[in-house]
């Protein structure tokens, strides 16, 4: 066997533990020197390319007489915006305000989308594992079919459906106060009074109280083996208490009903066709991914857990809810976080059907003012904030649900 020279630089790993550090030799055969040279070369190349691009950009911007800086945020914006959660007037309000409208529009569709996609996706994911053959087949067809079609195409489809609804005069009118037309969905809006706020507060309190009650019931069950009834408490806290509060403050109830005046509706709450199409598209598409995550999360739980639950005489629903789902949460949460992020990012497809989210408004701003760098920075900043917010929330939730090993 040949003698191995342990100081040979070809065996860097051998010196990993506690061996004396060698001096850097000025030789190409020293891996540490090589690494330093490679890094300098790579960074130098990247640095040069970046410098070159920045140099060109500043020359080009100069040639177009575009000064950098954030001053444009206070200039009046001539962007017509269809959907404004906060007051906004084109040519009067500033670009800053227009961008804020865009951010709020993104938030509006993302938050509702995440909620609905989670509900639909969980239901479909569980449905796909159902013992009912028809249910598991139909959910499989839905998941496999919808996943393989581009979201943008689906958005066009939904937007076409919403636009093909009849005009206001022939609007669908399923129940009093609800109109479906190509101008959007009109819903009755409650005239907000103090009593409603108090009733809402009572409802929130009721939620917390119900939660506390069920925790108490859990502890009681663990101690005595008997579980106190929880539904009467839930009924009282969630229904009787809020209604009672509402009634005690005079039971105000006045609905602002949409009504047809001339060629359009007046009053009521409006869901624009763009928002409806985008929301439906995002929810239907993202739910297929969430369904697969939920399904694989449930399948990751060993069969023994189901069988043990069955041996205790629990029904399948109870086993799923109290034994399997809490454990599969640990598998489900991390990929779920990235699906939520995908939904938020996919909401930028809004621009294709004319819903003005942050990317759409930032792009218009960028085209009108020529402030390319700042526009890009705004988009980056907004999405970075969203992703940090979502991932830190999901990390916190993941930590809460993580296995507590004793």
């Amino acid at each position: 066997m040949a003698q191995v020279d342990l100081s040979d630089p070809r065996f860097p790993g051998i010196h990993a533990g506690g061996a004396p550090r060698r001096h850097v030799r000025l030789s190409w055969s020293d891996p540490r020197l090589r690494n330093v040279i490679w890094q300098v070369l790579i960074l130098g190349t990247v640095g040069f390319v970046v410098w070159y691009l920045v140099h060109n950009t500043s020359r080009n911007l100069e040639a177009r007489h575009i000064a950098g800086g954030w001053g444009f945020l206070w200039q009046p914006a001539s962007i017509p915006i269809g959907e404004t959660p906060i007051a906004y007037t084109p040519s009067v309000s500033s670009y800053g305000r227009a961008l804020a409208v865009g951010i709020l529009n993104t938030l509006k569709v993302s938050a509702v989308g995440v909620l609905l996609a989670t509900l639909l996706g969980t239901a479909v994911g569980i449905g796909r594992l159902s013992r009912n053959w028809l249910l598991s087949r139909i959910t499989a067809v839905y998941v496999e079919g919808v996943r393989d079609i581009p979201l943008l195409l689906q958005l066009f489809f939904w937007y076409g459906i919403v636009q093909a609804l009849p005009g206001p005069r022939q609007a669908f009118h399923p129940v009093a106060g609800v109109f479906l037309s190509n101008r959007g969905i009109k819903l009755p809006q409650l005239d907000w009074a103090q009593a409603h706020g108090l009733a809402l507060a009572a409802f929130v309190f009721g939620l917390l109280a119900t939660f506390a009650w069920s925790r108490w019931a859990d502890r009681r069950q663990a101690r005595t083996g008997r579980r106190p009834l929880t539904w009467p408490a839930a009924l009282f806290f969630l229904l009787v208490l809020p209604i009672g509060v509402w009634a005690a403050f005079g039971a105000p109830f006045h609905l602002d009903l949409p009504a047809l005046r001339g060629f359009n509706f007046q009053g009521g709450l409006t869901i624009t066709p763009e928002y409806a199409a985008l929301l439906i598209g995002l929810v239907v598409y993202t739910a297929t991914y969430i369904a697969e995550i939920v399904r694989s999360g449930i399948l990751a739980i060993p069969r023994g857990q189901w069988e043990a639950g069955g041996a205790l005489g629990l029904s399948r629903g109870v086993i799923l809810r109290r034994i399997v789902l809490p454990q599969s949460m640990r598998v489900i949460i991390p990929p779920m976080a990235s699906q939520y992020l995908n939904l938020v990012k996919n909401s930028s497809l809004a621009v294709a059907i004319g819903y003005q989210d942050i990317v759409s408004i930032a792009d218009t701003t960028l085209n009108q003012t020529g402030q390319a760098i700042e526009g890009v920075a705004i988009i980056m900043g907004v999405y970075l904030t969203f992703s940090l917010a979502i991932s830190s929330f999901m990390n916190w939730y993941n930590k809460r649900m993580a296995l507590r090993e004793r």
């Binding site: 996943r147 079609i149 195409l153």
Partner: protein, 367 residues
Amino acid sequence: MASTRGLAQTRPIDWARANLFNSWWSTAVTLLLAWGIIRALWGFIGWAFVHAVYSVPHAADGAPDTAPCRAAQEVGACWAIVPEKYRFILFAFYPYDQQWRPALCVVLFVALYAVSANRRFWRRELGLIWIATLGVVALLMWGGVLGLPYVPQYQWGGLPLTLILATLGLAVAFPLAVLVALGRRSTAMPAVRLLCIVYVELIRGAPLIAWLFMATVLFPLFMPAGVDFDKLLAAQVAIILFAAAYLAEVVRAGLQALPKGQSEAADALGLRYWQKTRLIILPQALRLVIPPLVNTFIGFFKDTSLVLIVGIFDLLKAGTTAVADPPWQGFGNEVYLLLAVIYFAFCFAMSRYSQGLERELDRSRRH
């Protein structure tokens, strides 16, 4: 095997009782779903086949008369739009008499996918096949030699453009992704690692649409004065950079999953870094992540449709433009259905393939 035989022996009525009506809850679900499915199918068959219009008469000047479609618009599909518009949907503004060239490109691409999917061809020569195919596609699309008239890029469109964006995008993004993943795992070069982390996290931070906008706005600014930066090229570069960041994360997962002993054994054999990476690490690490890689490919195939937002005539844009033609306005769903079938065919084939491969690799790993 026993369970399969047992299933075959049960009578249909027993099967139905076990799988459709095993509780009152299950029975209710079955009945409700069956009712919904029958109604939906009935409606769809009526719309798509029974009341559909398959052809329309043409006026003397060749203009189509869509009155029969308009008459049936509420109840039946207008499939007449498909024979009328399929050339435009598939090839957009490519010169009409030259459209056999992009058609041949589509065939070449499909053949390329089929060859790449076959594990017998997983050799070094596969790279050459890819380069050769892309070269022939470029030759066919541009022309200008061998008696083929030159066709500038702005006339390209439809399905071949979608396939070019996806295939060329992945062909360039994949090697880049491997390098970035290796860089991100590098312990000896902290500066390179930092560079790779910044690249991946920055790209993944914003949606593809934002990058496409940025590419079309920023790339012309990046160039020295007088250099024209083509929109299609800008979109292609954006897709490559975007895909590379996501693929890098998938590759990194494979590198992480590989036991450390493999790398140490390679070191002990005295292999240099690139020898080790090329011969020991990558073949194993990539094999581990084939299913997620294919899933990412599917995602990017679908995402190429986003280029329509910056005004490039891919398959989806050609479809929406065909519907915008005044005589055919309002028949979007027919065209969308056609496009959905095309996209679905490609994606479904890929996902089925990935599932099959996953099973096969699982089996070989277990032996």
